[in-house]
């Protein structure tokens, strides 16, 4: 870290402090928390792209899987649903696993030819029908139980912090499947495959009501921190706030945001420390060697496909962890909010602008770009209203322009990405 990098980080914090003074400290801390989450996600993408040159555009899917993990680990179980439909769902899932195992064994053990193909098709198709036959009645029962309140299986009722790890594991599992299929082929196949898996993960979250309540959203996910309502009744807290001369309601919400911030900083610090260690180890050097020249690395006896799989899983797991953290910050899972433009491409822009291959760069990109993502809309609106101030107020064209200011975000982010790629492809904090 030299003075230049430190001053770049300082600039971001000055921006946040300006927001704190001119808008409110609540807004500033809200921004800071999401900046921290963005930094973790961009560390994840940086592991894939910066270390190994893997082009994966399914970040939104892994983030969403993290969100599902938060629900499945921390929500209280719905007893009645488990009693009536739990067994059905579990046997269906076991049947699905057995089918896949049999199919893989057939593939491995039989000689290639028509017999193997026909057998595999028979196994897979009959397995699918058994799976659906077992699953459909069970889910129908589960979704009928109090559909307005629950209508799903619920989770395990464990502390929500625990789900952050589970989110990483979920994402790692999905990444393993995708990586197995598409790594080792031409580089853009991974991009297409991850784009696809992300769409499917989100489709599952939206439609499988028995698992995630679908578009009805899961609300009230337990928090790892205090609740505002409790703080506002707490004598000691009120006394402290009065002593500081602040308003109780505002202070309670600041306190909650601040505690989230501390937890996020701890996670970010751990992941950043591990990433730095990994990048500067023999493993990290091998990864960069593979990235820079695959042929030479494999001639030196490195198993390129296996290393790629490893690094792809690690990066996705980090995105999954961030996804679980974000859902526990929001306290709810809203499947419609998982937009690829917001969660995949924005994170990519963060990594490229910050400096791919450099962990500090990715963190800086996360902070800076999230800040811009939020602030571009008011700035765009302000710019357009200045540009159109000469036009009469009842002109439909002017109204249209002002209404469309929200889309300035996409244009700005695309322009930032293209300009960085073209003129400063190494980013703000380049790789050493």
């Amino acid at each position: 870290m030299n003075y230049r990098n430190i001053s770049l980080f300082a600039v971001v914090f000055v921006f946040l402090i300006i927001v704190g003074f001119y808008q409110s400290w609540n807004v500033a801390f809200g921004l800071l928390n999401l900046c921290l989450l963005s930094a973790i996600m961009s560390l994840g993408v940086n592991i894939q792209w910066g270390y190994a040159g893997l082009f994966s555009i399914g970040t939104v899917g892994f983030v969403a899987l993290g969100g599902v993990a938060a629900v499945l680990t921390s929500m209280p179980p719905v007893e009645e649903a488990w009693r009536t439909g739990g067994a059905g769902v579990l046997t269906a899932l076991i049947a699905a696993i057995i089918t896949i195992v049999i199919a893989i064994q057939l593939w491995k053990r039989l000689a290639s030819g028509t017999v193997r193909n026909v057998l595999m098709i028979i196994v897979l198709i009959s397995g699918f029908f058994i799976f659906r036959g077992l699953l459909d009645p069970a889910t129908a029962i589960i979704e009928k139980i109090n559909p307005a309140g629950t209508g799903y299986l619920g989770g395990l009722g464990l502390p929500v912090i625990f789900s952050w790890l589970v989110g990483g594991l979920f994402a790692a599992g999905a990444a393993w499947v995708i990586g197995k299929v598409s790594l080792g082929l031409r580089s853009d196949y991974l991009a297409i495959a991850t784009l696809g898996i992300a769409e499917i993960i989100i489709a599952v979250i939206k439609n499988e009501d028995w698992l995630t309540r679908g578009v009805k959203n899961v609300t009230g996910i337990p928090r790892p921190t205090a609740y505002e309502v409790d703080l506002q009744k707490n004598e000691a807290f009120i006394n402290n706030v009065n002593w500081l001369g602040m308003e109780v309601v505002e202070a309670s919400s600041l306190y909650v945001k601040f505690s989230y911030g501390i937890l996020f900083v701890i996670v970010l610090a751990i992941i950043l420390w591990l990433s730095e260690k990994a990048l500067n180890s023999p493993w990290g050097r091998m990864m960069r060697a593979i990235r820079d020249n695959e042929d030479a690395a494999s001639a030196m006896g490195k198993d390129v496909t296996k290393r790629h799989l490893q690094v792809f899983i690690l990066g996705s797991a980090v995105c999954g962890i961030a996804g679980a953290m974000m859902t526990s910050l929001d306290g709810m899972l809203t499947p419609q909010s998982y937009q690829p433009l917001r969660f995949t491409f924005l994170i990519w822009v963060m990594v490229i602008v910050g400096g791919s291959g450099n962990n500090w760069g990715a963190v800086l990109g996360g902070f800076l770009l999230w800040f811009f993502w939020i602030e571009v809309e008011p700035i765009g609106h302000w710019l357009l209203s200045i540009l159109t101030s000469g036009l009469p107020n009842d002109l439909p064209f002017k109204e249209h322009l002002l209404e469309s200011a929200a889309h300035m975000r996409l244009i700005t982010m695309g322009a930032i990405l293209l300009l960085t790629l073209r003129f400063a492809p190494r980013g703000l904090i380049p790789e050493k």
């Binding site: 082009f55 659906r132 082929l185 031409r186 853009d188 690829p340 469309s404």
Partner: protein, 336 residues
């Protein structure tokens, strides 16, 4: 008789829509595959290119409608199509000049070009939402059906109807014309042959005096034509919504990969493979089986393999199967 009824139900709800959808996908996949063949990268902005061309068509259509210009019973969009194509050609040539050309000159790796295409996706998406908004736009006018279900029933005296929409038949006819013209161009003209030579072996093509920039420009023009036509046909048949066009990227890529990236014939076959599988797997067969089975065995569920929300899963599954078992696609394409 019941078997005939079952067949008509199937034709009405599966075969006719799948042929139309397949033609749209095939045109889209052709664009993707041509870019892979000549420019050697996967263009993730292709969905947006389609949406942009369609947007221009829609705007011109609205203008024509407002001045009362129409070609009833055909949709007005057909006469607006050339304007959309011109707009789309302009935008792709501009992006090529300002974005892709630099990476081509510096011989950057394909992945950098793919990433630049993501930036283009962003900007185009923003521009489209800025101009026409993120919502649904309907612009189909003229007659809706060539044959209504009721007319078919009266004509044949059968219990089931077969409806054919005007947009479906326009899709098929236009697609056939465009594809025939494309193959004539690629196989018969000098420029088309130089394009294929460039796609097969860049160095040899350069040695024999083919001008690479000219080949690239012509490829972009063809891609813009294909994309605008595909997008307009899709928008006429269903509806225009920017995000849907972005989502079309997956089935279109799946179609191109299934057929073999870089192989035009493969892209067309791939488009129909994807369209038919998507619709066959997400269709509810209850009515078909009610006709086919004796009344005692009549099904009481929908008999739907997957709900329509999972149609992306179908193209994805096909994509994965091809990647696992035949990475070069059904027809030999590029795999490395």
């Amino acid at each position: 008789m019941d078997a005939l009824h079952a067949l008509i139900v199937l034709a009405n709800f599966v075969i006719v829509p799948a042929i139309a959808y397949g033609s749209q996908l095939a045109l889209g996949a052709l664009g993707i595959t041509l870019i892979v063949g000549v420019l050697r990268f996967s263009n993730f902005a292709h969905g947006e290119t389609m949406a942009f061309g369609t947007m221009v068509v829609i705007l011109v259509t609205w203008w024509f409608q407002s001045i009362g210009l129409s070609i009833h019973p055909l949709p007005t969009a057909l006469i607006a199509l050339p304007f959309g194509i011109l707009g789309c050609i302009a935008i792709v040539l501009l992006t090529d000049k300002f974005v892709y050309k630099f990476y081509r000159k510096t011989k950057s790796s394909p992945v950098v070009l793919v990433m630049a295409s993501l930036g283009v996706t962003f900007i185009m998406n923003g521009v489209i939402r800025f101009v026409i908004g993120p919502g649904d736009q309907r612009f189909a006018d003229g007659q809706r059906f060539i044959m209504k279900a009721r007319e078919f029933k009266e004509m044949t005296g059968l219990k089931e109807g077969l409806a054919i929409k005007v947009t479906q038949s326009i899709t098929l006819v236009t697609a056939i014309i465009i594809v025939a013209a494309l193959f004539w161009f690629l196989n018969r003209t000098r420029t088309g042959k130089s394009m294929r030579a460039f796609s097969d072996n860049e160095d040899l093509a350069l040695l024999s005096g083919i001008n690479p920039e000219r080949v690239v420009t012509i490829t972009w023009i063809i891609v813009a034509i294909l994309a605008t036509v595909a997008g307009t046909l899709y928008g006429l048949d269903k509806t225009f919504k920017p995000f849907t066009y972005f989502q079309l990227l997956l089935p279109m890529f799946a179609a191109a990969v299934v057929g073999g990236l870089g192989n035009p014939v493969g892209a067309i076959v791939g488009g129909f493979v994807i369209a038919f599988s998507e619709i066959l797997i997400t269709y509810a067969y209850k009515k078909v089986f009610t006709y086919l089975l004796p009344s005692d065995f009549a099904p009481n569920t929908l008999i739907q393999l997957l709900s329509t929300d999972y149609k992306f899963a179908v193209s994805f599954a096909i994509l994965v199967l091809v990647l696992l078992f035949r990475p070069t696609g059904l027809f030999k394409g590029q795999s490395t």
